[in-house]
């Protein structure tokens, strides 16, 4: 049987491996060959773990239990802020290259591999995850598979390029303010930012403890669901990870839209959106017969997320700023130095506002089950582009690509980013659910995928 699984989903690969139609080793070898061929153009990978991957694939092929593994032989890769045993966890930085090699894998890597998935490498990202562009001054930019002269979005830029470009079917990334949803939008793929506290962050390099989430990217909703399900579970090594039973989403994916009340965010979430973003949103909202609602004080929520992000980030990096300021990306350094000077009173105010805002938004879910919103205001900008014009106002790309994602992750709501296959460049939407209702967001995403309203378009590479 052909081992050309470049554009296969993880679920298709796992089924083929589990039924002995193909070996995990041949799937992994094929993936490594595709990475070697395409990575020079996309700059998605910063490390390829070929030897480890082949050893793991051989172990799966020899396992009597492989038919029970939901991700048997599925290649995946992780943003390079995840610990990988034997590698320094660089988190997109120059500074962390001096760190000792990690002694253990991040917990989510261990959980993916326990389900049969095979780690094939580490992925490019914006320095210390403080980025929405996918550009990295040390490693070079990750490049958009739909147009390699354009941004992937960030900070999980390599994750977007690797999945969108067919190098792996599944990748893991982090999302503090939009770093899963922004690259998903610009690279035309699916991404899941789960509820805050749902997936353990143990043994990953942090950015903003109050807002950091981890989650998967894929080219199908089923793959998001399977990988999310196998990664759930409490973990004492992450103080924010909740002690909550696993709640599988896969059995509910195909339940359709019956009984679900769909809303679409107006006001703030339309202001500044490009015609592409609004066209994609309105098309899907019409398909779902969504009614418009207002998320109150979203602009202020974004402002509060901005304050908490920069100040917690500055606290994290304070000692490095003192001793190694010249080793930072200058753009990151200057933001963090400025943030170190913000009075603590203003940060506490932001955390007080956060609780108030959470209560207002949770009240909206009494009358709806999901809320649609744009994921990004525009399709992928050109690499190196500094500014864009939103609603007639010129503003920096780097700080503003997350306008619509920040007010949502600010209160930890689960979101599935879904791609609308516009030509020539795709754009994503957010399907936002109440806390712990990833199942509903995935169910709506799956229904849209079945209808053909959202799809991960295959780029010409």
């Amino acid at each position: 049987m052909s081992t050309n699984f470049t554009w296969s989903t993880g679920s298709e690969i796992a089924q083929a491996v589990a039924s002995d139609k193909v070996s995990a080793l041949s799937v992994v070898d094929a993936a490594l060959a595709v990475i070697a061929a395409r990575n020079p153009a996309l700059n998605a990978f910063t490390a390829v773990t070929a030897e480890r991957a082949r050893a793991r694939a051989k172990a799966i092929d020899a396992s009597p239990d492989k038919a029970k593994l939901p991700l048997a032989g599925v290649p995946f890769a992780v943003k390079n802020l995840f610990d990988i045993e034997g590698l320094a966890t660089v988190a997109g930085s120059k500074i962390n290259r001096a760190h000792a090699p990690a002694k253990r894998d991040a917990e989510l890597i261990a959980r993916m591999e326990a389900a049969g998935a095979v780690l094939v490498g580490a992925l490019n990202m914006g320095e210390y995850a403080y980025d929405f562009t996918g550009e990295n001054v040390h490693d070079g930019p990750s490049r958009n598979p739909h147009d390699v002269t354009r941004m992937t979005g960030g900070s999980s830029g390599g994750s977007g390029a690797a999945v969108g470009g067919g190098l792996v079917p599944i990748a893991l990334g982090s999302d503090t303010n939009g770093s899963i949803r922004v690259p998903s939008s610009l690279c035309g793929i699916f991404g899941l930012k789960p509820t805050y506290g749902r997936l353990t962050r143990a043994r990953t390099f942090p950015f903003v403890a109050s807002l950091d989430h981890l989650g998967p990217f894929a080219r199908s909703v089923r793959d998001l669901s399977v990988s999310y399900d196998v990664m759930q579970g409490t973990d004492a090594d992450d103080a924010a990870c909740v002690d909550r039973p696993k709640e599988s989403t896969l059995p509910f994916l195909d339940r359709g839209l019956d009984g679900l009340r769909i809303a679409v965010a107006g006001g703030y979430f339309r202001k500044g959106a490009s015609p592409e973003a609004l066209g994609a949103l309105d098309g899907v909202a019409k398909t779902l017969n969504a009614r418009t609602i207002e998320i109150p004080e979203a602009a202020r929520a974004r402002a509060a997320a901005y304050v908490i992000t920069c100040t917690e980030g500055a606290a994290l990096h304070l000692d490095r700023l003192r001793k190694q300021a010249n080793d930072f990306d200058p753009a990151v350094r200057d933001r963090l130095i400025a943030a170190a000077m913000v009075p603590a009173t203003l940060v506490v105010k932001a955390q007080i506002f956060r609780r108030w805002y959470r209560e207002q938004v949770l009240a909206l879910f009494k009358d709806c089950d999901v809320i649609l919103a744009p994921a990004t205001p525009v399709t992928a900008p050109k690499l190196g582009q500094q500014n864009f014009t939103l609603d007639g106002v010129d503003m920096p790309v780097r700080a503003n690509m997350g306008l619509y994602t920040q007010p949502i992750s600010f209160i930890g709501l689960p979101v599935v980013a879904v791609p609308v296959a516009l030509k020539p460049l795709p754009i994503g939407l957010q399907i936002i659910a109440a806390p712990w209702r990833e199942d509903i967001a995935l169910r709506v995403a799956f229904a849209l995928e079945q209808m053909g309203a959202v799809v991960a378009p295959r780029p010409q590479l």
């Binding site: 700023l321 130095i337 400025a338 203003l346 609780r355």
Partner: protein, 60 residues
């Protein structure tokens, strides 16, 4: 805040925090601080009850 006091604030804060501040970084640090303080002001001016709790709650 007007600009001259912010320059002085940045110099004083850098000294108090033992942060390096190359003169070449001053304009960029200032621009970033202005943006952050503007965002912070929009949050701080929002009226909330004295009893309003911050989002993170410590549990002993």
């Amino acid at each position: 805040m007007s600009s001259p006091p912010l320059d002085e604030f940045i110099a004083a804060a850098a000294a108090a925090l033992d942060l390096p501040l190359d003169p070449a970084w001053q304009a960029s640090v200032k621009a970033n601080l202005e943006v952050t303080l503007r965002h912070a002001a929009t949050v701080a001016e929002f009226p909330l009850l004295d009893e309003a709790e911050p989002a993170p709650i410590f549990k002993a």
